[in-house]
């Protein structure tokens, strides 16, 4: 086989990252070298993924790759395999793209830190781990990649170990993350004992017809394992701690990439390995988990007083949207969920980078201490606002397009099944969206607007490299919001189709006809249709908005909107000061965590309950994990 044939691209795309990590360990002393290697490796990874776009997404190929060319023998997959279908490629593209942008950002962001070579090594290990996970065609390799990425993430969480709470956060993450990884390992072992293979495709063919108690327990174990990686409720406190402590560029990876790997694992597990999503009870499980995550975490976010912790909770809330939508088991729902997953990676990446920019310049992310930065960091402010509008679903940004699809999908599901529960999900999603807006208004007021504290008088705009990374993400937020049709047609719909094309997935890997011969019952083929109930065309909408804005502006200018105002402050002094009821201007910033007390007052019992629940003690969180596991096992045994 030619070294440059498409077959090799997936493994290249993983390898360059690990190779880069390796090189930086050895030669990382040189600043130029390590930056060049990191940039080159992440870009090459993205490049190889992008090269697969045409054959996989457009032509519908599935790329199967056997390492060392050890193809299946005697009907058993012995070798290690990579399999890239549209679903894997979707996540692969997303991951590699964001990793590259985070790398661009890191160069200036990390310039003041010690031990930067180690940072890049771990960074590339983390990226490589996630890439390996989403491209792998082998359950045990998925576990290995999970281990790599977990330990890289733990180490990076504690990277700034002088920062308050960094080691503690890393320790918590380590403990609960290991519980998750152990669950995945245990589940893998149990499945291997049952079906004697570790190849995803072959397992997908063998497991669904032969469910035993052991496989059901294995399902629950794997499920909880991947939930830990996606930080779904009840694992959400870890994310908050980890994000709060980790450097911003790592938060981008943890939130935008690592959680996606969890979602990817859940999709592979429930749609492929067990093909259990046709069951109403399984749909209920996923949708319920998603809804609880989105609601609980958005309320938790409202109560936060740290910029990055707030973003961390939002990140799980958005993952809740994704899971609820993916769990609907309709093509439209999966498409919507994946679209939102992509958007989440983009806007959350942007927001974390903006938080990082604030931290970089002021040295704090405490909402109570910041304020008025918009005059000092105007570009960061605009970029942050784009991210905030996107996550709150303000049209025409991308969050709106995908949330709109999620509402449609859940409501359609509710109407189709006649189940009022799905309707509650729609309502929950809509209300959560407004709560998201509320907490970003809080951040906007507390960090970027309001009054500038004395000690930040000399704050400057962040360096160009950091703004560039944010700018790329902001542009992508806008573009994916303006072209929802293109995004769904070329990215999410092929991926959603792939989710239902289990037979093709198996046959591609194991040889034509294998699925039909091995499976006791062929998977119930879902009708894959993307008929949506409404119409949303952002371009025409934006045109309208522009025309209207123009019209309003013209009228406003005719009305001397701005002409008289341009006067230099007079000797009188007080005229351009803020109005303080006649008093001289004093520093009084309204902001911080308790901004929406009118809301919190009504929910005070809920919030005090939550406050007591989130004790911050790792023993409690481990207990939650065990309880969740127990519940999952019981539920799996009952319904599967």
């Amino acid at each position: 086989m030619n070294m440059l044939s498409l077959q090799h691209f997936p493994i290249y795309s993983i390898m360059v990252l690990f190779l880069g990590a390796f090189l930086i360990v050895i030669f990382g002393k040189s600043k130029v070298f390590r930056h060049a290697v990191a940039l080159l490796a992440t870009f090459a990874s993205f490049f190889f993924m992008a090269m697969l776009f045409k054959p996989v997404m457009l032509e519908g190929q599935t790329i199967a790759y056997w390492m060392g060319n050890r193809v299946p023998a005697g009907g058993y997959a012995i070798g290690i395999a990579l399999e890239v279908d549209a679903l894997s490629l979707f996540f692969g593209l997303l991951v590699s793209c964001v990793v590259f942008i985070a790398c661009v950002y890191s160069i200036q962001y990390m310039s003041h830190d010690d031990n930067v070579p180690q940072y890049y090594t771990l960074f590339l290990m983390l990226a490589g781990g996630v890439m390996g996970l989403v491209l792998s065609g082998d359950l045990f390799n998925m576990f290995i990649m999970v281990e790599i990425l977990t330990f890289a993430a733990v180490a990076l969480t504690a990277f700034r170990n002088t920062a308050n709470g960094a080691l503690e956060a890393a320790f918590k993450y380590l403990v609960v993350g290991c519980i998750g990884s152990t669950c995945i390992l245990a589940g893998t072992i149990m499945l291997y004992a049952q079906v004697h293979t570790l190849n995803l495709a072959q397992m997908s063919a063998l497991i669904p017809g032969n469910l035993s108690t052991a496989t059901k327990v294995a399902f629950a174990l794997l499920f909880i394992g991947f939930c830990t990686k996606a930080f779904l409720v009840p694992f959400h406190p870890l994310a908050a701690d980890a994000h709060g402590a980790a450097p911003a560029s790592i938060s981008v990876l943890i939130s935008g990439v690592l959680t996606k790997s969890g979602i990817y694992g859940l999709i592979r597990l429930s749609y492929f390995l067990f093909q259990s999503m046709a069951l109403g009870t399984m749909q209920f499980w996923l949708v319920f988990l998603g809804s609880v995550s989105m609601f609980v975490c958005v309320t938790m976010a409202l109560a936060q007083h740290d910029f990055k912790r707030l973003l961390a909770f939002h990140s799980i809330s958005q993952i809740g949207y994704v899971l609820a939508s993916v769990g609907l088991c309709t093509a439209f729902g999966i498409s919507a969920g994946l679209y939102h997953a992509m958007n989440h990676t983009l806007f959350k990446g942007l927001l974390f980078l903006a938080a990082g920019a604030v931290l970089h310049e002021t040295g704090t992310t405490d909402l109570g201490k910041l304020g008025g930065l918009s005059r000092k960091m105007p570009h960061t402010t605009v970029l942050f606002l784009i991210g905030a509008f996107s996550i709150s679903g303000i049209p025409p940004f991308n969050g709106f397009a995908s949330k709109w699809m999620i509402y449609q999908a859940t409501y359609q599901k509710a109407v189709e099944t006649g189940n009022i529960g799905f309707l509650l999900v729609t309502i929950c999603a809509l209300v959560t969206s407004t709560l998201t807006l509320a907490s970003f208004v809080k951040v906007t007021q507390s960090v970027f607007f309001g009054q500038l504290p004395k000690e930040y008088e000399n704050v400057k705009e962040v360096p160009f490299g950091m703004r560039l990374a944010m700018g790329i993400l902001a542009a992508m937020c806008l573009v994916t919001g303006l072209l929802p049709e293109a995004v769904t047609r070329y990215l999410t719909e092929p991926a959603a189709r792939a989710v239902f094309a289990v037979t093709d997935y198996i046959n591609n890997m194991m040889g034509a006809g294998y699925a039909q011969s091995a499976m006791t019952a062929p998977p119930a083929v879902q009708s894959v249709s993307f008929a949506s109930a409404g119409v949303w065309s952002p371009i025409s909408w934006l045109c309208l908005l522009m025309i209207a804005l123009l019209a309003v502006s013209i009228v406003a200018i005719a009305g001397k909107y701005d002409r008289v105002s341009v006067k230099s402050p007079e000797n009188l002094g007080g005229k351009y000061d803020l109005f303080y009821g006649g008093e001289q201007t004093v520093y009084s910033q309204v902001g911080g965590d308790d901004l929406f007390w009118g809301f919190k007052h009504n929910w005070r019992h809920y919030f005090s309950f939550m406050h007591e629940l989130h004790s911050g003690v790792v023993n409690d969180y481990s207990l939650w994990a065990v309880v969740a596991l127990a519940l999952a096992i019981v539920y799996a045994l009952i319904v599967l």
Binding site: A558, G559, V564, L572, G573, G574, K575, D577, F579, G581, G582, E583, Q584
Partner: protein
């Protein structure tokens, strides 16, 4: 045409900002009574504004105590042009019974140009409305003089 429209409107929509500069509260109550159903100054477009930035006419009551003077002046400065200043009651004009007190800095006209004085302790609502109507006229004049 647009300019004429604005001029016309300036006379029909004067918003008041009320500053108490140490008043005994008599004038303040009387000013509010102007807006009650009996006298209803809103039919002439008068409205109490919450912030000096929104106001056209500043109504000052009280004898301008030393404590209130800088605050009164600062608030008046913050009113955008064109603006009118109306003193209500005898206190801001002469100091009234407080005249000669160590803590009184009045009259107001020592510090800013006062457009209309409404005398009385307290002035009748009719007098207040008359004074405000006069201030509105002046406001219109000032608007005409702008540019």
């Amino acid at each position: 045409m647009f300019k004429k429209l604005i001029e016309e409107s300036t006379g029909k929509s004067p918003w008041l900002f009320h500053i108490n500069a140490g008043s005994c509260n008599g004038c303040d109550i009387e000013l509010v009574s102007v807006l009650t159903p009996r006298y209803d100054a809103e039919r002439l477009g008068f409205k109490l504004a919450g912030s000096p930035r929104h106001a056209d006419i500043v109504v000052v009551t009280g004898p301008i105590t030393a404590q209130s003077l800088p605050r009164v002046l600062r608030s008046i400065e913050q009113v955008p042009e064109p603006r009118c200043i109306v003193t209500m009651g005898s206190c801001p004009q002469s100091g009234n019974v407080f005249r000669g007190s160590y803590s009184i800095c009045g009259p107001l006209s020592k510090y800013v140009h006062v457009d209309v004085d409404v005398a009385g302790c307290t002035p009748k609502p009719e007098a207040v409305i008359d004074g405000l109507a006069l201030a509105t006229k002046i406001l219109q004049e000032k608007r005409r003089a702008m540019k």
